[in-house]
Symmetry: C2
Subunit: 328 residues, 2 copies
């Protein structure tokens, strides 16, 4: 019997999960839930129904794992705890500073309902976090660096769009090559925020807008741009559509440190991602972990988990014997 | 109370474990066991005793985890099952083809004694295996490549040393740059053994030895060299000592594959290691997993495990709350 997956929220991430399910023969898409008019949503999977979000609560028996595909700002803090008492759930909550609070609420709800929940699954938080923990445990005396990009930051693009006179915008986070090289060489440099990444902005302005003012508002924006070297390029809407419609991303977690009697030996551990589509990769990670959620729930576990709590074999459709024989 | 570690076998790996324990404040070296004369072994940790191997069996109460530091050819197949019924144990058994058989024997012994065992811990098998499983689960439609080097292969160096007229030798496994680039670009090439790695040999020959014959014996040696482009450099013993005394290694596990409705997006996942000292890094991995063995045993688990069965949080000295707050 396949694992019956529900998708709650059908944007880029939801569509990514739908595609990922097709690559996992032990899973099937059971239903999609949306806050939009269900009739306006066209799935790419034949025979699957779209329901209004409110209908989810009556369908607990039909879904083994509900994958929440909403945003971290307002959707997931409400939705994940609410659904976690009814379903085994998984989300990609990525507001790092609020993870402990989100974890506590989801954990409480999941335990109350006897369900298994996972939060903050994706690549960062997610695979990058897992690699930070493993690398730090293996090389206790060292430093860990995380670089992002080159890739589109949705949050920074949105921040630019909120400036008066801006029609649309795309922001790329770009790691600084010298910093990356130094870290990869095991030099363990001390790096400021400005020394690690630059920010490149492609902005479509309204006709007649004051471009100097827009540029000034971008580069001085606190939290988002003020601590970085930022370049602003004004382009046409046609150029934006032609050259900046993708959502690529990626980055590296690199730890280097020393071992030996006298710490004379340097080691560098690097985990690197180059992603053509950020939401599709995130969806693929979540879908693999949905298998772990299903199995842990079947074993009788309840409460909230993160990638730190899941043994690798739970992600794979292969049996433990087959994994040891073919991949160890 | 710290985790009391025993080291069974005091060669390069055993010394690496001894150094790694010093970097983990929640561990202490309890005892070292050797088949040599204990008086001939000088530890770098003050106050710790060296015992003959046979003394181990009477010291089960004094050691929480026994780390087996012998070789995979003849030591571990005997030692790990024998000690696994008395101690929680961990080894770095690396004969890939014989892992299922070794696992079965260790599992049986550990269950009989109510102990927890882990086998095949290090970087390959070990961290590379873990990354193969994770990457394959995340991107089901793709290909996984493992490259090794540039680094010293002990097995290949030994094979050269067995040739008549050879005094000493060092063999480097070298990944082929074009193959690596193609894989990193997500091209998913079909690669033969010869297209992935070359082998560089540095050989010290006896005075008057037939160098042409030695070279011919090396490059045509089945399993070890015949399937590779191999270069042989004859050097003096002084050059060997001056330039080839280190044991560096490393490599990459790279998986690339596609996602999307129509598989139009390519993703590349790479896990890469650059190691100044192969045995010290292996020792550091084993020591981190010894913490997991200790905790799993304390929770009442018994039997054999591999890296596939261990959740990342078990490796870290930090609490789950601290991990979620600082590294997720």
């Amino acid at each position: 019997m396949s694992i019956r997956i529900g998708i709650f929220g059908y944007g880029n991430l939801g569509r990514g999960v739908e595609n990922a399910i097709r690559q996992n023969p032990d899973m099937e898409l059971a239903a999609v839930f949306t806050r939009r008019d269900p009739l306006s949503v066209k799935l790419s999977t034949p025979g699957v129904k779209v329901y209004p979000a409110e209908a989810a609560e009556s369908m607990a028996e039909k879904i083994d794992v509900m994958i929440l595909c909403g945003g971290s700002a307002t959707d997931l803090p409400m939705q994940t705890p609410r659904l976690a008492s009814l379903f085994n759930v998984i989300d990609s909550f990525d507001t790092h500073a609020r993870i402990p609070e989100h974890f506590a609420r989801v954990d409480e709800a999941a335990r109350a309902g006897g369900k298994l929940a996972m939060i903050s699954v994706g690549w960062d938080p997610g695979m990058f976090s897992l690699n930070r923990v493993l690398a730090e445990a293996i090389i206790p005396e060292g430093r860990t660096y995380t670089f992002w990009g080159r890739g589109v930051s949705q949050g920074h693009s949105d921040a630019i769009r909120r400036i008066e006179g801006v029609v649309d915008a795309r922001q790329y986070t770009v790691p600084i090559e010298e910093a990356l090289s130094s870290v990869r060489n095991g030099e363990m440099p001390e790096l400021t925020t400005r020394e690690k990444h630059t920010r490149e902005c492609f902005v479509v302005a309204e006709e007649g807008a004051d471009l100097d003012r827009i540029e000034e508002e971008i580069v001085t924006m606190p939290n988002y741009f003020a601590d970085y070297d930022t370049t602003v390029n004004f382009i046409t809407i046609e150029e934006l559509r032609a050259n900046h419609s993708g959502i690529p991303h990626g980055g590296q977690v690199i730890r280097s440190g020393n071992t030996g009697n006298g710490n004379q030996h340097t080691h560098v551990i690097e985990y690197s991602l180059k992603l053509d589509s950020n939401p599709e990769f995130t969806a693929s990670v979540i879908t693999a972990y949905a298998r772990a959620v299903y199995r842990l729930a079947k074993e009788g576990n309840a409460g909230c988990r993160t990638v730190f709590d899941i043994a690798p074999s739970y992600l794979s459709p292969k049996s433990p014997e087959e994994l040891r024989r073919s991949l160890l």
